[in-house]
Symmetry: C2
Subunit: 342 residues, 2 copies
């Protein structure tokens, strides 16, 4: 059976559809009308059709979250935070993965269909094409990540440069002097920034050796292979591996295990993102929390604020990282301590 329309409710209540609409939406109407309409609506099980309402109001009550790699815990954490904010503001959340179908650019382009009132996008790479799509978008877009200056778009960023400094400083304090940076793909925004952060951080210490290499991607398997390559050969071994994210760090842990290296005794290992994996691994992996949950929350807030006031200036919010020290980088002490970034 078809869902009841407001026309049927009005008919049953014996009023016009306008009155029915007003009564149901809390507009001005007599107590008697409200009562009659309420009763009729309840009897028919009427609920206003979302599509028709959207068409009339030019507002879908839907927001989108576009993510490159659903399944990556970091994106899931952001999504979870976004969902909470969005739902509590009476919006629905549409998830689009660019991995499954098209590219992030296509997803932004699709905003032209008007199926959402705004979008949060978390692109792996920011191309000119993406920037063009962003500025052409008919609805507000908030970017989780970096965007070139001058693009007038709300942005939430992590501070992975500071994050890297926290890690490197910690390792040096713990007595490590020969660091290997195991990055993910260097042509991604995270890859680029983490490399830069590592280099900057090392430069501040005069007496520290460092090298860098990359894994094929930000996964456990790639981290494992890259670590086997880097640590398995002849020549001097580093006394610490700084991994670009937790997944790679776990891969390093496994490789060290296979190579008979004891962590942290022979080798310290650190990650980044502070995912549950870092906490669960044994030894626990020292990791930098880049505030994924907080970033998701802020992005959603920014989007809602811009929808409420489209004329406001573009904001850029940077979320401060924090270091979480665990067994993988401690010489003897196993207790976890935390230090927050200024």
């Amino acid at each position: 059976m078809r869902r009841p329309t407001i026309t049927q409710v009005a008919a049953l209540a014996g009023v016009s559809i306008a009155s029915a609409s007003r009564a149901l939406n809390g507009q001005i109407a007599s107590a008697e009308t409200v009562e009659k309409v309420r009763r009729a609506a309840a009897e028919l099980g009427y609920v206003a059709d979302a599509t028709a309402r959207s068409l009339k109001l030019r507002r879908t009550q839907q927001l989108a979250y576009a993510v490159a790699d659903i399944g990556n815990p970091v994106y899931v954490e952001m999504m979870s935070a976004v969902e909470r904010v969005v739902a509590s503001s009476g919006y629905r959340l549409v998830i689009s993965s660019s991995a499954a179908a098209s590219s992030t650019v296509d997803l932004v382009h699709d905003l032209g269909r008007g199926y959402v009132d705004g979008m949060i996008v978390s692109p792996l790479r920011v191309t000119d094409e993406l920037v063009a799509a962003l500025t052409a978008s008919p609805v507000p877009v908030v970017v989780l990540g970096r965007v070139p200056d001058g693009v007038g778009v709300d942005t939430v960023r992590a501070d992975s440069v500071t994050g890297m400094r926290l890690v490197v400083d910690h390792l040096v304090e713990a007595g490590r002097r020969d660091l290997l940076f195991l990055n993910g793909p260097a042509d991604t925004t995270p890859g680029l920034l983490r490399q830069q952060g590592f280099d900057d951080a090392v430069e501040r210490h005069g007496d520290v050796r460092s090298r860098s290499t990359t894994a094929a991607d930000f996964t456990i398997a790639s981290g494992y292979r890259a670590a086997l390559d880097a640590l398995g050969g002849a020549g001097p071994r580093p006394d610490a591996v700084v991994a670009a994210n937790d997944l790679i760090a776990i891969g390093v842990l496994h490789a060290a295990d296979d190579l008979g290296l004891r962590v942290p005794h022979d080798l310290a290992v650190t990650g980044m993102d502070n995912t549950e994996l870092a906490e669960v691994a044994r030894p626990g992996v020292t990791s930098v929390d880049l505030g994924a949950h907080e970033r998701g929350r802020v992005a959603a807030d920014l989007l809602l604020a811009r929808i409420a006031d489209p004329g406001r200036a573009a904001h850029t919010v940077t979320v401060a990282p924090s270091l979480h020290v665990r067994g993988s980088s401690a010489a003897g002490a196993a207790s976890a301590q935390e230090r927050s970034a200024g």
Copy 2:
């Protein structure tokens, strides 16, 4: 600026809006008209408005996935599978978490708003109220989980009873004779079924002792506390803990560590769900894969099939579990072997 409408495209092309619509939708139209309309649409950057289209076609091209606990890796895995199928079929995916806002029942009720063409719901508890909402739903709903017989609804279920048998048989084969089942809340569907599966499995072995207790919920922290309670006291210790899911199993691992128990030497530990956590933990946690990805995929397929043919009979698909043996339950052998359920 406002997005262009089909009226403007028609005007620019010098044809009626009807012709414009037909030309754009591949309906019957002269080559010349198609060309003119295409050109006009491209020039204006026209894309059909999704809302107006939905209203006319009585079809939103959106599907919903309602999940109790976003953030639980199992649900994320299902979601990821669902998203893939949905996106490749030209639908968008709306995510609703019942944890954030309302209950699962409310989410099903909300289908009355007509904002999606169907829903996949994964309820923690199946109440009469939920069943009522399901049968009253104006759009198809597929349930991931158990539903009373007679409710004519498509269902995808895991076979956790068989899964439990796989685990228990494995432990007994490995020489364990005193099993502790560490369940999550017993008033949830998963809790109920896993308890039943455990009891059944144990009964098949004459010479096996068993006990059961519950953690406050299906999390690492609760598993840890419950394990500390159960293993820390006096009296005979079990030689194996069967945890109701991987998170609880990780908690058991940590508790064992704190109590100075060696896994698997002093204590075997098994989990369920075969999440990445089980793989990453050291020792790796033997776990039963209940086919979350497969269940998500099948649920999405069932939903699409029902939308295509609303009259078809309700299907119930059960996905077979598989055992993944890892270090946490092996006496000496560390190599992983897999066994599939019949």
